[in-house]
Symmetry: none
Subunit: 239 residues, 2 copies
């Protein structure tokens, strides 16, 4: 994977100053692809835009998406940054180094939540993995732009140097997040049909299946296999 395959996704950022400072940090570290979900209303006019010094192209070239799911539909690896150190989180350094082995043209997204509240449970579950920035226990809450800085810095160190990415093999390429969601939607319907998922709360188990499948990075062939399996489960369960 190359630097240009990496996106930063800011979900509902409250402060234009943080978005602007994040743009400068990205540009410092060779990243240019910014995706915004519900950005602040004064993004085009605020004086805090000045914090994007040298990176107004990143700020003004940011794409927008109505939801996180839309933002990452084309992306292969979707990693949520979380202040809470949940069990399965990998460090920013390990996550960045993990991208090095991935093929050119695969996309990765690092997702950052709003300043105070962070990503919702549903948004965290929508991602394929969690990334944690190590901090002092005494004050673990990083400013949003500072968190983007650390992640971008690690990505630059991992991908910015010499030593090219793995070549892409079309038939081995993992499917993007949108296609993985289609697989999960089929599995969801099938597993509800046979009573494996609780209709009151199907999504907790489904989130576990999503993380499991996302880690294995299914190919198009495997996605087709899994969708066929889901169809067969539904068919066999019919009275």
């Amino acid at each position: 994977m190359r630097l240009q395959d990496v996106q930063i996704v800011l979900v509902r950022p409250k402060r234009t100053g943080n978005v602007a400072a994040a743009c400068r940090a990205m540009k410092n570290m060779g990243l240019s692809r910014l995706l915004l979900v519900e950005p602040p209303e004064d993004l085009a006019t605020s004086e805090d835009r000045a914090l994007a010094y040298g990176a107004f192209d990143v700020l003004d070239g940011a794409r927008r998406a109505p939801t996180l799911a839309d933002a990452v539909a084309e992306t292969t690896v979707v990693l949520a940054t979380s202040g809470k150190h949940e069990g399965a989180a990998q460090t920013a350094r390990d996550a960045a180094e993990g991208l090095r082995a991935r093929a050119e043209g695969e996309g990765a997204a690092f997702v950052f939540g709003p300043e105070a509240s962070g990503l919702t449970r549903a948004e965290l579950d929508r991602c394929h993995g969690l990334v944690h920035i190590p901090t002092s226990a005494e004050h673990a809450s990083l400013n949003l732009a500072q968190a983007v800085m650390v992640v971008a810095y690690e990505v630059f160190l991992a991908l910015g140097g010499p030593g090219g990415p793995a070549p892409a093999h079309a038939e081995d390429a993992p499917v993007p997040a949108g296609e993985l969601e289609a697989v999960l939607a089929d599995l969801r319907a099938a597993l509800l049909d046979i009573g494996f998922l609780n209709p009151q709360n199907p999504d907790a188990i489904l989130a576990e299946l999503r993380r499991l499948l996302a880690r294995s990075r299914p190919t198009a062939r495997e996605a087709t296999l899994l969708r066929g399996l889901a169809r067969q489960i539904r068919w066999s369960g019919r009275p």
Copy 2:
């Protein structure tokens, strides 16, 4: 050397917002000793003090010195950060890791110059070494507080942990191959039952599922989930 032996020295910073944001970054990374040479005049009153969220003790506890030489007189290792990549500079990561070998109680200082102009030649020469933060050639100029963030982060990773990677959580450990085979045996029986696998040749498809699951390295929890799923498929397929 320990985290408390490391100082951050800001020389003639222009903006209170940068000093305040640097305090938060320091506190996030377990650093508390800030030394200021000619700080901005509105440091005690500016609204931008809010950027020191959670770290007002660092901001208000900062010591002052009239010159860089006074500031670092008691310090063993004095490292200047420089945007220019001069020949003798070491990276922030190497510099931080180099501190690990130093004795407890020795002091280290990372020195940062003013936002636009940087340290003077005489100040650079006063330091024992140069530290460089790797950046994209296209936009090498980091915001002052962002530069403090990266250095503090590297210092924390080098000195803040127990040394070496964090221990793995037992519940995240992947199951051994034997348990993965038990999952596959259950899936095999279930998928034969519902006619997804061809009884004449079930193992080709099963091998694909094995590769897919092995890549994701399921945990014990996930293995149990998959075996429960296989049971439910069999049960639902019964006439």
